[in-house]
């Protein structure tokens, strides 16, 4: 009880201290929260230095307090800090990528026309998994130019609880990004790794990690200290926004 009282008395004081920073006026500079959001880039090269355990625990807290549909919190985290295990996972996924490259990558596959046929069917069935970007990533990973977790010392796997309310997968995304932003605000680098899907192609990792109903592996987040300063503000393409107001419709960029 005393603890909650303390929090109540402390909160307004903190708010007043930063009120100026967090009060919007037109054209104001980015506040620290916005800055973390805007400057976050996917980091793909990490130092060998391990992330302290307490810091990872702190990041997981940010995930625990994410919003979810009906407060169902349909997630489960797995933290992997065992370098040998990470290497094994990378090898496992690389092998699967090699297999997919052999059957689907028509430009390099010795199967030639047959690979072209397979890919044309495959892309129509798995339109998102074989989108041009992951399609070329399969080749890059198979060739060993890109490692699954980019050499990160810590990996958080996010599992969804299939029984969650509404869209459990989306809730996993929300809680994952909470953790990612918290990590970047604390000087770490992160990268979302969707290719962990390939760990499910076979029983080795599903057994070892204990992934079975009602859980399903959704995403991985690689965490580590980045090499250099990969974070920064960049240019992005504008997206058209449809704007409905006062009975009228306009498109803003």
């Amino acid at each position: 009880m005393t603890e909650t009282l303390d929090m109540e008395t402390k909160a307004p004081a903190k708010a007043a201290e930063f009120a100026d920073m967090y009060t919007w006026h037109e054209g104001m500079d980015w506040n620290p929260v916005e800055r973390v959001i805007l400057e976050r880039r996917s980091n793909r090269k990490y130092k060998d230095k391990q992330v302290p355990e307490a810091l990872v625990r702190r990041i997981l807290e940010a995930g625990r307090f994410a919003p979810s549909a009906g407060n169902s919190q349909p997630w489960r985290f797995m933290v992997i800090r065992d370098q040998k295990m990470i290497d094994e996972m990378e090898k496992y996924v690389q092998l699967r990528c090699k297999l997919f490259k052999f059957f689907l990558h028509w430009r390099t596959s010795p199967l030639g026309k047959i690979a072209w046929m397979y890919s044309q069917v495959g892309i129509r069935v798995r339109r998102n998994d074989l989108h041009p970007i992951p399609f070329s990533a399969i080749k890059v990973i198979a060739d060993g130019k890109l490692k699954l977790f980019h050499g990160a010392p810590t990996v958080i796997l996010i599992l969804k609880d299939k029984r969650g309310a509404g869209k459990p997968e989306l809730d996993c995304g929300i809680c994952g990004h909470n953790m990612v932003l918290a990590a970047h605000s604390l000087g770490l680098g992160t990268c979302w790794v969707g290719f962990v899907d390939l760990l499910k192609y076979g029983t080795k990792w599903t057994r070892k990690l204990g992934i079975s109903f009602p859980y399903d592996l959704v995403e991985g987040i690689a965490i580590g200290y980045p090499i250099g300063n990969p974070d920064g503000i960049i240019e992005r393409e504008l997206h058209e926004v449809e704007w409905f107001e006062n009975g009228q419709r306009k498109t803003v960029l």
């Binding site: 037109e26 054209g27 104001m28 500079d29 980015w30 805007l38 400057e39 880039r41 996917s42 980091n43 793909r44 090269k45 430009r107 044309q120 892309i123 129509r124 339109r127 989108h131 041009p132 970007i133 399609f135 070329s136 990533a137 890059v140 130019k145 890109l146 090499i227 250099g228 300063n229 990969p230 974070d231 920064g232 503000i233 960049i234 240019e235 992005r236 393409e237 504008l238 997206h239 058209e240 960029l253």
Partner: protein, 110 residues
């Protein structure tokens, strides 16, 4: 109103046909670049490389007609000399046609 025609919906692009697809591209300012290779180090699709010796050491985009650049602009964030940035974002056309986008712009503080 349909955003994709039936033909587009059913046609899977071959991903590298210049008739309807374009890759991501970066522009490298050769004056500013000092060939440190940081961009090549972090490029997720390994489509940048460094070549040359001494003062002529510069970063280059793969000479491929279709570099695997996904216009993520990570290189721009990494470069300390503002020498590199994405000049064109990818569009693979047909089924994967990019819709409702504008030009490249940094974040705007309204």
């Amino acid at each position: 109103m349909a955003y994709l025609t039936w033909k587009e919906k059913l046609s899977v692009p071959t991903y590298d046909n210049p008739a309807y697809a374009r890759s991501g591209r970066v522009e490298i300012d050769k004056e500013k670049c000092n060939g440190c290779g940081n961009c090549a180090l972090i490029c997720p699709s390994a489509c940048l490389y460094v070549a040359g010796v001494g003062k002529n050491k510069k970063a280059y985009l793969m000479d491929d007609d279709f570099p695997e650049c996904m216009s993520c602009n990570d290189c721009m964030a990494m470069c300390e000399r503002d020498a590199i940035k994405v000049s064109q974002y990818y569009d693979f056309g047909l089924y994967y046609k990019v819709l409702h986008r504008g030009d490249l712009a940094p974040p705007r503080n309204f």
